[in-house]
Amino acid sequence: MQAVEVKNLSKKFEKKTKALGLKASFRSVFRKQLADFIAVDQISFQVAKGEKVAFIGPNGAGKSTTIKMLTGILHPDSGEVKVTGLTPWKERKQLAFQIGTVFGQKPQLWYHLPAMDTFYLFGKIYEIEAKKFKKRLDFLIDKFQVQDFVYQPVRKLSLGQRMRCEMIASLIHQPKILFLDEPTIGLDVVAKQQLREVLNTMNKEEGTTIFITSHDAGDLEKIADRVIVIDLGKIIFDGTVKALKEKYAAYKIIDLKIINGGNVKSKIKIPGVRILKAENYNWQFELDVKKTSVKAVLDQLLNIYQVEDIGIFETPMEEIISNIYAQNSLKNK
């Protein structure tokens, strides 16, 4: 059995539309103008148990609507969904025992109480037997290293500390699948790193399936094995992070430090190579991976110059993602 099975899932909303101006506003008081907006359009995918999937897309692409249908919050218009074998909108309560949710922008912790109080309340909500609950809580407190601040009111915690406590609240009932919506939003570099590490550990040690939406490229690279890209309600890419890079990484950067200087512009003439920086001893090239290879460029450079140091950099993930969105929006124009 797969952790998540989605087949031809669709959802549309009615959106209020109104022409500009006071007259139109007045008219809309008496007659609502509605237009259909397709949020999710016939999407299908599967997530295996223990897999770590990043579900990405620009704002309004259909990510949140999909997650809401997977967690039983929204009814789809058509299509099938099974999450741990359950149909979310029909068996919502049973499903809630199987899944955990972390919404970076919607805290679950009580603001004025210590996080510990929320954990105990969640123990009641998930009907966890006292001994089992204590054991689980001790394990998570240790894993997330929150001992020093778990008894302080949440309002006094830093965002990073708060997020770690949010994670504990979501994992207290040992869910099989964890749905995370922008969990690292607003966190500093260290807090992001800690959160990613813990997610990977939970996945490794407890086999928790992870389904994460994020605008942070680091989340994709450091957490996900697989990426699903959704835009305008349709899946436009579904594959490994490596495959995503291969398909959409348009260029690589080569940094070169040479011992014998010279005029690089006159000597390097390879199609697909652009010189970004050409100082005497420090040069930087951008090469289009579709037109040439790193090897071809390096062969030529090493032939001509005595090289002291080389650095080869991939296209930053942020740029890959924005390329995908740009290409898709061009295609749909």
Partner: protein, 272 residues
């Protein structure tokens, strides 16, 4: 049958345990700001007492209204404040249900394995309501003879009044499923309920009387419990139970009918 009964009892016990847990943490959260909590509760008791004082002078000056005097007014306020206090202390989000619906905030409660409506209602407490809740027994023991029947009727009346008010909150909150944002309408309906339930019942006649029993059922929430406290009539007692159950089930029916129209939201919130 035995199995069904056991399951039902277990469900009730679990939900009561859940409500109790929330009540504890709501109170604990309120205690974080002790002065705020105590001052709101104490001032509400004084506020209710002040209203009674005004009515005392009113009846002293004008006399009874069709047999309705100061004693009847105290009874009305006991059940009015008691029912209001109980609902808003335990189900403190009831008054915000319409806003929760129109803002798409039910999403949060859908992700837990509990009834989402119950969860939404219990996840807040109204601090001043604790004062109202305390006012009811204080006024009762000051002005009414305490015996087994009267104490039973006090708790029964507060409970039935609370259920009727809760059902009314659910009904006016459910309007948001159809109307979207409509805070002003909800607030007007709620204040009509409040006004009808805490003013002399004897002055309402004809169409208004029909309205305050069957449209905005303030009459059942306070008039009848007050009548029963004055003179116990079994048939009235049973009718009140029947009405409370039917009205409560009706509110749930309307709520779940409206829920089919619910669309979620993407607001950013912080829990109290």
């Amino acid at each position: 049958m035995d199995k069904v009964l056991k399951k039902l009892i277990s469900m009730v016990v679990k939900n009561l345990d859940f409500i109790w847990a929330y009540l504890k943490y709501n109170l604990a959260s309120a205690m974080e700001f002790r002065f705020n909590f105590l001052s709101q509760a104490i001032f509400m008791i004084l506020n209710d007492g002040l209203f009674l004082l005004i009515w005392y002078f009113f009846f002293q000056y004008f006399g009874d209204l069709n047999g309705f005097g100061f004693r009847e007014m105290i009874a009305l306020w006991i059940f009015g404040a008691g029912g209001f206090g109980l609902v808003n202390a335990v189900f403190g989000n009831a008054a915000n249900l319409g806003t929760i619906i129109s803002n798409g905030e039910l999403d949060f409660y859908f992700s837990f394995p509990k009834n989402h409506l119950l969860h939404a209602l219990v996840s807040r407490t109204d601090l001043s309501a604790w004062g109202d809740m305390l006012f009811a027994p204080i006024a009762f023991f000051l002005f009414f003879p305490a015996n087994l029947l009267s104490i039973f009727l006090l708790f029964f009346g507060i409970l039935s009044g609370a259920m009727i008010l809760l059902a009314f909150y659910i009904l006016i909150g459910s309007l948001s499923f159809w109307l979207g944002r409509n805070e002003v309408l909800q607030s007007s309906l709620f204040h009509a309920f409040l006004a009808f339930s805490t003013n002399p019942s004897s002055v309402f006649q004809g169409v208004v009387k029909f309205i305050i029993f069957f449209v905005i059922p303030a009459g059942f929430a306070t008039f009848w419990p007050a009548d029963l406290l004055k003179e116990f009539v079994l048939s009235k007692f049973l009718y009140l139970i029947l009405f409370t159950i039917i009205f409560f089930l009706f509110s749930l029916l309307v709520y779940y009918r409206g829920l089919k129209r619910y669309s979620s939201g993407n607001l950013i919130n912080v829990r109290g």
